[in-house]
Every structure is written in structure tokens, then in C-alpha cells.
């Protein structure tokens, strides 16, 4: 697709890296849109890493007891106390939305535009429900008296870490929902019929990244 020669003697492994960087050609054989999305995601990786890193640092150095996330986020469901109930549902919802997005990309490349649009809309709806549940968790914790500077359950740093990390992630999910809705609308309208449907893959990269970040937040914040 990039118009570069795919000669029969295509180098493999490290030789391909040397070729890509040394030859008189564009280094990365992907479209600019996709490359820029990857570079943006690399930057975002650093931002989320630094959030999780600061969380690690304050948790290591806190002298007050760190609250047990398993108990903090438990809910009473049908008279039974279930640990991390809503968080588990949110995790499954985000994974499902990643699945629908991956299939949307596949359909877009098969030129089945309508199916891709529907699956992107399904992804956006799942993402919006994730944000709604996150808002519920926030209001529950705020009602319990947790603030970024104080926490009745132990270490004060818990509130700061929770609101910053999940808030920044929730912001990414919200932005992703809007982004997907815009791309889906333009796709349905036929804006990409001439250029090709790579935009679905590019917006998909962003969406999968949001899911990827949640995998790390789930492990380090909720399960640790």
C-alpha cells in the first residue's frame, strides 16, 4: 500500500530494521495516520506509567495502612457481599468492547461498511456504560468520605491515586466514545469510500489501548 518495492529478497529480522532505517526510503512502512497514532499511544503509555509509578511510590512510603481494594469496592448483590463486583463487570465490558472493535476493523477491511459501523456503535455504547459505572464507583467513594487528600479507611494517598488514575483513564474512555461516534458517522456517510477504511483500524488502536491500560490498572490498583 505504501508504494515501496516489495522485492523478492525481502530482508527478515534485524536485517529488515537495518534496511528500513538505512535505505533511501520512508523508515516506517505504515501510513502517516497510523504511525502518528502509535506515537501518540507511546506518549500516553508514559503518562499512564508515571501515574502508576507515583501510585507505587506513595503506597510503598505510606505509614498508614493501605485500604484493601477488595473490601473497598465490594457490593451487596441479592443479599450477598461480592468483592470487586462492579469492577469485574467493568473489566468484562471493556474487553467485550475491544472484541467488537477488533471485529469492526476486520469488517471494514473486508469492505463490509455497514457491519463495521454497527460494531463501532456497539463499542461506543459499551464504552459509555463503562464510564457510567465508573461514575457510580466515584460517587460511592465520595459518599464514603474519600477525597484526594483524606481517606477515612487508612492512607490518605489512596484517594489521590484512585481519583487521578481512574479519572484519567475514564477521560480516555469518554474521549474514545466521542472519537468512535465521529468516525462511525463519517464512515456511514461515505467520507472514507475513496480513501479506504484504514481510519477504522487507527481509531481501533486507540480503543484497544484504553482497554490495555485498564488491564494494568485492574491488576495494580484493584488486585494488588
Amino acid at each position: 500500500m505504501s508504494g515501496q518495492s516489495d522485492s523478492a529478497a525481502e530482508a527478515k529480522g534485524w536485517h529488515s530494521v537495518v534496511d528500513d532505517w538505512a535505505a533511501d526510503q520512508r523508515t516506517f512502512r505504515v501510513s502517516w495516520g497510523k504511525l502518528m497514532m502509535w506515537i501518540f499511544l507511546l506518549g500516553d503509555t508514559f503518562i499512564f506509567s508515571i501515574f502508576l509509578l507515583s501510585y507505587m511510590t506513595v503506597r510503598l512510603s505510606a505509614t498508614d495502612a493501605w485500604p484493601n481494594a477488595s473490601q473497598v469496592f465490594e457490593l451487596v448483590v441479592f443479599g450477598q457481599t461480592v468483592p470487586l463486583f462492579l469492577i469485574a463487570i467493568m473489566t468484562f465490558i471493556l474487553i467485550t468492547s475491544s472484541g467488537t472493535m477488533a471485529i469492526a476493523v476486520s469488517f471494514a477491511y473486508r469492505k463490509q461498511k455497514q457491519l463495521a459501523v454497527y460494531l463501532m456503535l456497539a463499542t461506543a455504547v459499551l464504552g459509555a456504560s463503562f464510564v457510567a459505572m465508573q461514575a457510580f464507583e466515584w460517587s460511592k467513594l465520595i459518599a464514603d468520605g474519600v477525597r484526594p487528600w483524606v481517606n477515612p479507611m487508612g492512607a490518605a494517598q489512596f484517594g489521590a491515586a484512585f481519583f487521578m488514575i481512574t479519572g484519567f483513564h475514564g477521560l480516555h474512555v469518554s474521549a474514545g466514545v466521542i472519537y468512535l461516534l465521529i468516525v462511525a458517522r463519517k464512515l456511514a456517510r461515505g467520507d472514507y469510500d475513496q480513501r479506504g477504511y484504514e481510519i477504522v483500524e487507527i481509531s481501533g488502536l486507540y480503543w484497544h489501548f484504553v482497554d490495555l491500560v485498564w488491564v494494568f490498572i485492574f491488576a495494580f490498583f484493584y488486585l494488588w
Binding site: 500500500m1 529480522g13 534485524w14 529488515s16 530494521v17 528500513d20 532505517w21 523508515t27 516506517f28 512502512r29 505504515v30 502509535w38 506515537i39 507511546l42 503509555t45 508514559f46 506509567s49 508515571i50 509509578l53 507515583s54 507505587m56 511510590t57 506513595v58 510503598l60 512510603s61 505510606a62 505509614t63 477488595s70 468483592p83 470487586l84 469485574a88 473489566t91 468484562f92 474487553i95 467485550t96 475491544s98 472484541g99 472493535m101 477488533a102 471485529i103 476493523v105 476486520s106 477491511y109 473486508r110 479506504g196 484504514e198 483500524e201 481501533g204 488502536l205 484497544h208 489501548f209 482497554d211 490495555l212 488491564v215 494494568f216 485492574f218 491488576a219 484493584y222 488486585l223 494488588w224
Partner: protein, 106 residues
């Protein structure tokens, strides 16, 4: 990766990965539900986390089919984060020790 490449992935591949992600999330939830504690808990949580991250990156984000030059662009910079983690782990422990030494309530 060329677009022709992606078209050949069957939908069943994505459904399979989806199923695995579900299963791995369920396992990591069970670690908490069954109250597994200590080093075993951390090992399991990290293992399931890395497996999930690997599946999302390699299949859903198509990194598996990208050229090595792009893979290096994505993964070499993460070394800086690893160094930062090590530094801050030492720093966190040091701060904790100082707080115990000088700010202990009597």
C-alpha cells in the same frame, strides 16, 4: 502491515482471543475471590495481566504482523520506564524507612 494482510484474518481469530481475554480476566478475579495471598497472588496477577496485555497488543492491535522497525519503536522506549520503576521502588522504601525513624507517633 498491508491491508491485504488483515483481510485474511478470519473473524474466528478475534472471537478466540476475546474468549481467552474473558477467561484470563475471570481467573484474575478468582485470585481475589478465593483470597489467594502473598507471592502466589502477585505472581498470578502479574501472569494473567501480561498474558492479557500480550493478546491485546499482538492480535487486536495487529503488532504481531507489523515490521520489526515499528515493534522496536514501541518497545525499546519502555526500558526507560523499567529503570524508573526500579529507582522509585528504592526511593519509596527509603522514604518509608525515614518516616518510621523520624515521624513515628509516641
Amino acid at each position: 502491515m498491508s491491508t491485504e494482510h488483515v483481510q485474511h484474518h478470519p473473524i474466528s481469530l478475534y472471537l478466540k482471543v476475546w474468549g481467552w481475554l474473558f477467561l484470563l480476566s475471570f481467573f484474575s478475579y478468582m485470585v481475589d475471590y478465593m483470597h489467594v495471598q502473598g507471592p502466589l497472588r502477585w505472581t498470578l496477577v502479574l501472569t494473567f495481566m501480561l498474558l492479557k496485555a500480550g493478546l491485546i497488543l499482538s492480535v487486536f492491535m495487529h503488532v504481531k504482523w507489523e515490521r520489526l522497525a515499528l515493534k522496536l519503536l514501541l518497545f525499546v522506549p519502555l526500558f526507560a520506564i523499567a529503570v524508573f520503576v526500579a529507582l522509585m521502588a528504592i526511593e519509596g522504601d527509603y522514604t518509608y524507612a525515614l518516616r518510621l525513624l523520624y515521624f513515628r507517633q509516641h
